[in-house]
């Protein structure tokens, strides 16, 4: 987890032993284990720009819309769950071919009350910054 002055985001990077197109396609295929739509109880998935998705696990719904679908390099979708307080967070997944492998980067950003433009002291991240060390100790 990274805490920035204006926002909180989760950023992860992995190297997948496959080409970028295969990894890209697998990310959007609910039958492939490890993508967000796999193992859901119900899935509605339309991975095109402005296409929507909905999936539910243990009765908890997640939904959003795709804002960028650029095969094989990038997928951007909004992400709304009960924990995002009704606001759209943003999931950006990038695929970069590196020899026979693909470097995959996932960034989950714009978490609640952290929209760009709000100042440091205008959201809960300010308080989170202040107290995180105490809670982690």
């Amino acid at each position: 987890m990274k805490i920035f002055t204006k926002s909180v985001e989760v950023k992860l990077e992995r190297t997948m032993p496959a080409n970028a197109a295969a990894v890209f396609d697998a990310w959007l295929n609910p039958k492939i284990p490890g993508n967000p739509w796999n193992e859901a109880e119900k899935v509605v998935l339309n991975p095109t720009v402005d296409g929507l998705f909905y999936w539910t696990l243990r009765g908890i719904g997640h939904y959003g819309r795709f804002t960028e679908v650029s095969r094989p390099s990038k997928i951007v979708n909004t992400w709304v769950s009960p924990n995002t307080a009704g606001e759209e967070s943003l999931v950006t997944v990038s695929f970069r071919q590196d020899g026979e492998n693909t470097v995959m980067t996932l960034v989950h950003s714009n978490l609640p009350d952290t929209q760009n433009g709000r100042s440091h002291q205008q959201g809960w991240t300010y308080f989170l910054d202040k107290f995180l060390k105490e809670f982690q100790s």
Binding site: V8, T15, A85, L106, L111, D113, Q122, W124
Partner: protein, 107 residues
């Protein structure tokens, strides 16, 4: 958690929290710096109390308000939980490709 985010979404409530972070304060002293009606401050305090961000303590005849950081821990845990969620997903996703590669190399 939504209560906490909502409670912190208003500048007056954030200012009250800032004040109470320094030290426990009497209700009237909390209201003093704000050019707002007392009942408006009371409403803000109720919202902060409902979110668990402040608590009341009676000392003799006076009621002191103080800050509670615990609900913010919940928010921090949620962000940590989100990181764990994606980590687990990507572990599984990576393993899927490793399994395919292994089958190709050792048919």
């Amino acid at each position: 958690m939504t209560d906490v985010l909502t409670a912190l979404s208003h500048p007056t409530r954030r200012a009250i929290i800032e004040l109470l972070m320094i030290k426990p304060t009497r209700f009237l002293d909390v209201a003093k710096p704000f050019n707002t009606a007392l009942n408006a401050i009371t409403k803000h305090l109720k919202m902060l109390e409902r979110a668990g961000l402040i608590q009341r303590e009676k000392r003799g005849r006076e009621v002191f308000l103080s800050f509670r950081g615990e609900p913010l821990k919940e928010v921090a845990q949620w962000v940590n939980g989100l990181e764990e969620y994606w980590n687990t997903k990507l572990d599984t996703f990576e393993q899927h490709f490793r399994d395919i590669k292994e089958k190709e190399e050792n048919p």
